[in-house]
Each structure stands twice: as structure tokens, then as C-alpha cells.
């Protein structure tokens, strides 16, 4: 499949890395004090499968729902702001400034707003974290268009919405996907860290803090592994989506290669 092309090298690199990790630890640190070996983590994952799976579902739901809401809101805001030039000139710099707030630090405050045990506050953190990069980058892509392409459309008396569809949106896609790739890993981090402070107690975040508190590090790592898998699956999905949405883009990247 064309969309999957080019993923083999990172997979090989990952396997080699884990092999080294396992090898080095079994040579120098057989008791697994500092860092459990991959085999121990996988063992803990199997032993605690039901709990970890349940935690991954809950955290995964927070991540995915937060991502989707953040993306949708970010895109709507970007389209609105590019429609009205003054809005773009006032709101966009403001958004860049707000984006500098370490949103994850607001987790305890969000807990206060949405309820300590509700996953709503965790979702809200993810939404806020995803919203800004999507909004800022998409706005950039919608506005930083080739002048002559817009003039060409104007010379055909194309309507404003037609210009948005034919020129601005395709131009914004690479910007959007760059932000989206950044957002998927951020969303997982945000969800788990937010869960340290509140939300459902059977999610991955509390599982990590509780296991670590009881010095059951292999279980903590099993939960981390589950979080990693969520991030990896999402990232991979975005990569595939990117290739499907922008088949021409890989042509630009591979320029000069044979096909």
C-alpha cells in the first residue's frame, strides 16, 4: 500500500533499540532496580492486562475525544478568523500569546471547574492544548497563500468561498498536519498528566502514580507502555491520513527520487 510506504525503517530502528535495552539491562542490571527490562514490562502488562486495558480505554477516550473537539474548534476558529481580516489581525496574535500559557499547569484549576472525579476536566485540558496549535497553524496556512493563485481565481471571478476551497484549504493542509502530528503526542502527555491531578481513578495516569508509589515500577511502566501505544497508534493514523489527504505532498518531498 502506497500510504504505508516508508514506515519500515522506524520499525526496524525501534526493534533494535528495544533489543539493546533488553541486552544491556540483562548484562549490567539483572535485578531491574532502576529500569525494568522490556521483558519485565511486557510481563507486568500481561499480568495486569484487565486493569491496564481498562485504563487505556479511559485515557484513550479522553485523548481521542479531546483531540477531535480541539481539531474541530481549531479549524472552525481558523476559518472564521481568515474570513474577517480584522479578526485575524487581532485574534491570532492573542492566540499566539495565550498559547504560551503552560495549559497542563491548569489541570488542578480545571478540576475545580469540572469536578475532581469527572473526566471532563481532563478532556478540557486536551482540547485546550490541541486547539491552539491547530488554530494558529491552520490560520497561517489559510492566509499564507500564493498571491498569483488568488489573483488567478479572481481573474475567473471566482467567489470568496470558491477561493477558500480551491486555494486556501489545500494550501493549509500541510500546516494543519504538522500541527496535528505535534498535537497527538501532546494530547497523550496532557491526558495522563492531567489524570495525575483528578478524573477517573482507573485511568492510566492514576495507575502510574499509584504503582510507582508502591514501588511496583514494572506495573507503572506497563501503564506508560499503554500510553505510548495510544500515542503511536494515533500518530500512525495521522501519517496515513496525511498521505491520503495530500497525495501530491509526498511527490514534493520525494522530488528527484524514482517512484
Amino acid at each position: 500500500m502506497n500510504a504505508l510506504k516508508g514506515f519500515s525503517a522506524p520499525i526496524v530502528a525501534g526493534v533494535v533499540l528495544f533489543g539493546l535495552w533488553q541486552g544491556v539491562l540483562s548484562l549490567f542490571n539483572p535485578q531491574g532496580f532502576v529500569l525494568p527490562a522490556p521483558s519485565e514490562i511486557v510481563g507486568a502488562l500481561i499480568d495486569n492486562w484487565d486493569e491496564v486495558y481498562q485504563g487505556a480505554r479511559i485515557t484513550g477516550f479522553v485523548v481521542v475525544s479531546g483531540l477531535i473537539a480541539g481539531i474541530v474548534l481549531g479549524i472552525i476558529a481558523a476559518l472564521l478568523v481568515t474570513r474577517f481580516r480584522t479578526a485575524n489581525e487581532t485574534i491570532t496574535p492573542l492566540a499566539v500569546a495565550v498559547n504560551a500559557i503552560p495549559i497542563i499547569a491548569l489541570a488542578p484549576i480545571f478540576n475545580n471547574w469540572f469536578g475532581l472525579t469527572s473526566p471532563r476536566s481532563n478532556q478540557a485540558i486536551v482540547v485546550a492544548l490541541v486547539f491552539f496549535p491547530i488554530f494558529i497553524n491552520t490560520t497561517r496556512g489559510l492566509t499564507q497563500v500564493d498571491r498569483s493563485q488568488v489573483e488567478l481565481m479572481e481573474s475567473y471571478a471566482a467567489s470568496r468561498s470558491r477561493i477558500t476551497r480551491e486555494v486556501r484549504i489545500p494550501n493549509a493542509l500541510p500546516f494543519f498536519f504538522t500541527a496535528l502530528k505535534l498535537s497527538t503526542s501532546l494530547a497523550v502527555i496532557a491526558a495522563i498528566v492531567a489524570e495525575y491531578f483528578g478524573g477517573r481513578q482507573d485511568a492510566l495516569g492514576p495507575m502510574i502514580t499509584q504503582s510507582a508509589g508502591l514501588t511496583r515500577y514494572d506495573e507503572a511502566w506497563a501503564a506508560v507502555l499503554a500510553g505510548t501505544m495510544i500515542g503511536a497508534v494515533l500518530y500512525f493514523a495521522v501519517l496515513v491520513l496525511e498521505r491520503v489527504a495530500m497525495p501530491w505532498h509526498s511527490l514534493i518531498r520525494n522530488h528527484g527520487d524514482d517512484k
Binding site: 498569483s148 481573474s155 511527490l251
Partner: protein
Amino acid sequence: MNVIDIQGATKVFNPGRSNQVEALAEIDLAVEPGEFITLIGPSGCGKSTLLRLIASLISPSTGSVEVNAKPAEQARLDRDYGMAFQTAGLFDWRTVTKNIELPLELMGWSKGNRRRRAAEMLELVKLSDFAKHHPSELSGGMQQRVAIARALAFSPSLLLMDEPFGALDEMTREHMQDELLRIWKETGTTVVFVTHSIPEAVYLSTRVLVMSPRPGTIASIIDVDLGGRSAATRDDPAFFNKVTEVRVALRKVEE
């Protein structure tokens, strides 16, 4: 009835600001149907600006611009002209065929007609083998040819072309010149063509307008009456005389 009627048009960019540029001063121009006008002049003298005024992509600071006896704005809305820009301005996300079909889509042509016309146009610019490629896979000159095909696709009665052959090699350039002249003769289109090449201006046009540097004005108008063009025209002494005449006029404005 004139195809283009410009009276006392001036263009000042960013008026009243520190980056104010007086691009065009007092342009008067009347172009009759079927003429082939070239604009030639030093870089930055306002050739592209004048073309954009005619296309109503910008509006004049003072004066008036009419196309087909109506305000240029209305002519644009009526899609009275086709335009090829100085940069190819192709859409990377569309294949070569789809790029050529773009104006036809906007004009509501049926899919079958669009396909057929795009294929004809590709034939014309000798790029049939690249129909399904994306612009980023083409050389600069090939991209420029796609842009020309796109401008010609809907057979507009007025063609505005801004250095369309600038990126082409000499042989392709001469071929495209002959093709453009053939289309012009067959369709009776009026053409306004910007170029930096004196022989190109003489070979193509019925009138060469020599422009002076900023603020741009039409410094001299040279009528070219060489009859039908062919390969022999390029070696004709009358052709060389005209080339010299334009060169002298250009030298005068650059002093």
C-alpha cells in the same frame, strides 16, 4: 468599439505611506479588436501593474479602465479575458489536466467537455505525456506551458500574458510563439503581451508599446507591419530594422 480603453490611468501603491510607489503615470491606451500588443520596458516600469489594471485585479488611483466598453471590473466578472501570470501559479494539489480544467470548472463546463478541451490544450503545448502528473514533477518551462494552456483553455476574446515564455528555452519559445500567433489568427483574439525580449516583441505584435521607468508611461508606440510570420521572418531585414527601432526607443527611455 475598442477592446481596451484606458484614459488617464495612474497607479500609486500605498499612497501617503513611507513605502509609497508611483508605479504608473497617466496612461492613455486604446486597443482595437484583433490587435496583438506587446509591452516592453525596463524591469519595474509597471508592465505587470498595467496588465493587472486591465484585468481589474487592482483599480487605478485616478482615471478609468474599460474593457469591451464596460468597466474593467464588470469585464472581469463576465470572464471576458484569460490571463497567464509571470509566475506559473499552478496548483500543486491538482494534476496537470486538472489545472487546465480549473477555469472550465468555474465556468460550469461538463466533465466530458473539460476532459476533451484539456487534452487538446496539452497536445498544443506538447505535454500530453504529463497529463496525470503533478506540477512539482515538471520543469519550470513545462509548468509555464501548462499555465499557457490553462489561459487559452476557454478561448477568451482577450488574452493578457505577463512574460509567459520567460522560462522557456529558445526552441520551445519559438514554437510557442508560432502556436500563439496561430491561435491568435484563428480565433481573432486580442492579446496584450508583456516581454523582455525585443525580437519576441517584434515577431509577435502588431504594435509594440515601449514603457519608460517609474513612474511608468507609454514612451513610444512602434507599429509593426511585417505581414504573415514564418521562419523566414526571423531572417528578414525588415524584421531586423524593427528590432533596431525598438532597441533605440528602449535605450532612449533608459537614459
